[in-house]
Amino acid sequence: MNKIDQAIQFQNVSFRRGELSILKNISGSIYKGKITTLVGPSGAGKTTLLKLCNGLISPTHGDLFIDQQSVLAYEPTTLRRNIGIVLQNAPILRGTVFDNLALPLKLQKKSLTKEEAISILDTVGLDESFLERDATELSGGQKQKLTISRTLINRSKILLLDEITSALDPVSVHEIEQLIKKINKKYDVTIIWITHNIQQAMELGDYIWVMMNGELVESGDISILSKTKNKQVQNFIQGNV
């Protein structure tokens, strides 16, 4: 692939907290318009990697580039609106579904129209009747759809999703998986999504990154999982499938 197709490029990225080395020398590219699945055991550094992409934290070594430009060159709020993130356990704010959806625009001193709100809810599979519902009373699956639609309000070209299916029932998991594909196709959004479930990773995604102990141990298309020579990765796959 050539440079133009790269949405995000990591160049020897490391992240340390004090003595603790959380990410170690990560290099690689995320391709435009594709879905990349980030898998790995808990504590591997997956969340940390996503937070680097939208500037919630900065690399302590190396650099990463969004559209060929270093993240450090972006104004933080612009970067965060361009690279949408749904954080692991993102809180639902007190108020209605509409209040939650309006938050990203309120931060820019703009207001959300009812039509926009309805249209974004429709995308995630919630109907108009949800608008005035108390957001804190929704079911787990509905809440997750709301957190996704709230991030979608910023109309980012890159979307980062952190374990958004982990706490859900099988039906909701399936709905969210379909939603990820739909957003990717419909809006041509580049998506990186995290799961610790290998099965899910193999079913959904054009590319896969496997992380362990802060290192990127495998990356490529889905077939790398069956071809891997890495003992740790083989164990991880067997433990999961």
């Binding site: 900065s58 709020t77 965060r80 609106r81 809180p91 931060l107 991030t151």
Partner: protein, 253 residues
């Protein structure tokens, strides 16, 4: 009151000592230490104040107020040790409170510009400001600790640090101000406030005493709101860095 009659008040110390001894509360040592400390500290203050009042020199007044601000700062900063530069932030808050309130009181000639007025009023206002700073810092660090996810959410959606911390800042300011406002609603009904009691015992006309008390409680409203808001505005930026990133462990050491 003579020192002989004053020494009779030691009966009030004996009673808790005897109670503590008989009921094995083991509070005797602390009670004795507290008694000795209060005698020494208050006597020193009394003689220092007498000296300052007699000299009526602005140098001494200035020195006394500086001393109060230093003592109050050292006391309040314990609660905000994790916040960078908290010492000078509290000191600045107390200085602003003192300058604004005395500026109004003396500038509009509400009270005479003598040590007899300036020092006790400053003491009350600085003391209140110190308590407010402690209340604010306690509440603010607790609010931030328990709402890290919401703060990060706002940042992640493209909000500024100020927008991200807005709710926590507002809650902490409100929570620290409420006791001051609430206590004024019942003032005089249960307990006569200190200033009034003191003046009445000292022989002042109760109505004059009330007038002074009103002056003090109004001034306390100003000191309370300036203190919480100023210390809040000075503190919250230290929770973020120049890349608008939330420094997670900024509120605990």
């Amino acid at each position: 009151m003579t020192y002989t009659t004053l020494s009779l008040t030691l009966i009030f110390v004996l009673i808790p000592l005897i109670l503590s001894k008989t009921l094995h509360l083991s509070l005797e040592k602390d009670t004795i230490i507290a008694t000795i400390r209060s005698i020494i500290q208050l006597l020193i203050v009394g003689y220092v104040l007498k000296f300052v009042f007699d000299s009526d020199s602005f140098i001494y007044i200035f020195f006394m107020i500086t001393l109060m601000i230093v003592a109050a700062t050292l006391n309040a900063r314990q609660k905000g040790r994790a916040i960078k530069g908290i010492t000078w932030k509290i000191a600045l808050t107390l200085i602003v409170v003192e300058v604004v309130t005395q500026g109004i009181l003396l500038g509009l000639q509400i009270v005479p510009a003598t040590a007899q007025y300036i020092i006790p009023i400053s003491g009350m206002l600085i003391g209140n400001s110190m308590v407010l700073s402690i209340l604010f810092l306690n509440r603010f660090t607790a609010e931030v600790e328990s709402n890290k996810d919401s703060i990060e959410l706002v940042l992640s959606l493209g909000g500024t640090p100020q927008q991200a911390i807005h709710t926590q800042l507002k809650n902490a300011i409100r929570a620290s101000l409420i006791p001051t406002i609430e206590s004024q609603k019942t003032i005089g009904l249960v307990q006569l406030p200190g200033v009034m009691s003191g003046q009445i015992i000292g022989g002042a006309d109760p109505v004059v005493a009330v007038q002074f008390q009103i002056l003090i409680i109004f001034a306390l409203l100003t000191t309370a709101s300036i203190s919480s808001i100023l210390i809040g505005m000075l503190s919250y930026p230290t929770l973020f860095n120049e890349r608008m990133q939330f420094i997670k462990n900024a509120t605990h050491k």
